[in-house]
Symmetry: C2
């Protein structure tokens, strides 16, 4: 970690009885950033504020101003591209799940980490289908909350197989996402991405794609069995951008056509070189 501010103070540590530790009672954003600011900041902020409302956390315009000032401060002297991770956690006195909604505060943690682009971000990702299942919960679905054990365990499936990413699905066979990315699957000439109403993270790049490419990518119920007849696959997140998939469970896959990928990247404001 290069820098860390907690509520505006240079501080790396947190009380071990904080609700972020005890329950994962908070939200985060992992952003690509440089001295000029956070890339796609409006999208990140929009998702954060939507999440804060859904978790019933306190968030005022003063909180937002403070967060934006803190981000500006930590980014003022960075060299090149970095990862800026934002964590908003519910701060309350006392032990136990309960809290008084009128006596909570939202703690802000702003962390900066080095960023290293990997060759596979451009050349394409190898995927495996993990046996670890995605957590299903309509109350929490879509949120980038701090309860991420399913991704942690699925990530190990990628590691064991020497792959870049692992896909999570549900007991009923429905595909959800990758451990750190959203998934796109081309079937009968149409790009599709799993519905996230019950599980998964509503990613920034996925949102931009759905918003800015109209019917080119559609939300659908996708099954594990759809992987067998996929014409092409892609994955995305804020750090890797939009990445073609070159193999699944060791079976080579034809990546999407370069001009198609390039068109998507341009449409959502990612450079395609």
């Amino acid at each position: 970690m290069l820098t860390c501010l907690i509520n505006g103070t240079v501080e790396t540590r947190l009380n071990s009885d904080h609700r972020l530790v005890a329950f994962g009672d908070g939200l985060f954003e992992t952003c690509l950033a440089d001295r000029r600011g956070v890339r796609f900041w409006n999208d990140h902020l929009n998702r954060l504020e939507n999440g804060l409302a859904r978790l019933g956390m306190i968030w005022t315009s003063e909180d937002r101003d403070a967060l934006e000032t803190e981000i500006e401060t930590v980014l003022a002297h960075v060299e090149g591209v970095v990862v800026c991770k934002l964590i908003l956690g519910r701060g309350v006195q006392g032990r136990g799940y309960d809290f008084d909604p009128d006596r909570q505060r939202t703690d802000r943690i702003v962390q900066v980490f080095p960023y290293q682009a990997q060759p596979w971000h451009l050349q394409g990702a190898t995927l495996v289908l993990s046996e670890v299942q995605a957590s299903v919960n309509p109350t929490l679905a879509g949120l980038k909350h701090m309860n991420r054990l399913d991704s942690v365990l699925a990530r190990q499936s990628a590691r064991s197989a020497g792959a870049h990413e692992a896909l999570l699905s549900r007991a009923d066979g429905r595909l959800v996402e990758g451990s750190m990315s959203n998934l796109y699957l081309k079937r009968d000439g149409q790009w599709l991405t799993p519905d996230l109403a019950e599980a998964g993270v509503d990613g920034i790049i996925r949102r931009r794609l759905l918003r800015q490419t109209e019917e080119t990518i559609r939300v659908a119920d996708l099954l594990r069995s759809d992987l067998d007849r996929a014409e092409a696959l892609m994955i995305s997140n804020s750090l890797i951008g939009l990445v073609p998939v070159v193999s699944l469970d060791g079976r080579p896959l034809t990546p999407p056509a370069w001009d198609e990928l390039s068109r998507f990247r341009t449409a959502i404001g990612l450079s395609s070189d």
Copy 2:
């Protein structure tokens, strides 16, 4: 918090990039304790060690000895009954879901909090059915892991209604548990408790009841609609013991017969007075 040891050192704080904060990558136990030790320690330890194995965490006999020594140390001078909370978190360098399984360590946090028995622990609990759903994930079900946002949100349903506890269920109508307790429901003269193969926490008191009372309590698929025709309800956890339910969603319920409750409490080693 009265006391806190982290890996044996008097220390209350944790790095904000620890995986406990970032992902809830760990397990916990909330135990009733006094100067003589932790009540039902073998059960707590057994559940912890099962969880450590399922999450692929490192745990040696030296780790266990250290944890037991630390518990003994913090309890040596406490007055009366306290809550001893144990947290085991995966410690690893670096950012991101991935970790090298051969280069992880398990960090031990031992916290002591005051304990206050509430009148309702003996007189009976008021319950509501929450609209917040339980997280469904067979890979994680049963574990007392640190991803507890569903309980946090459900707890607010209890608060809004002025009730002691809120029940969580699933989209398909199946009952799972309370936000901080396991559930027992009497139907046609038979005590039943929800199956936890896909969601919920495998509680210590529930385990003891299932083990020590033979067929008196059985595991079953229970639906929200079963609540309407329940003859009686009980809830349990390590801090409240086994507690009769006196109302559900504002509707009075006949609590289980005193001698029945007393028989259960005695069977699992809880005093019934």
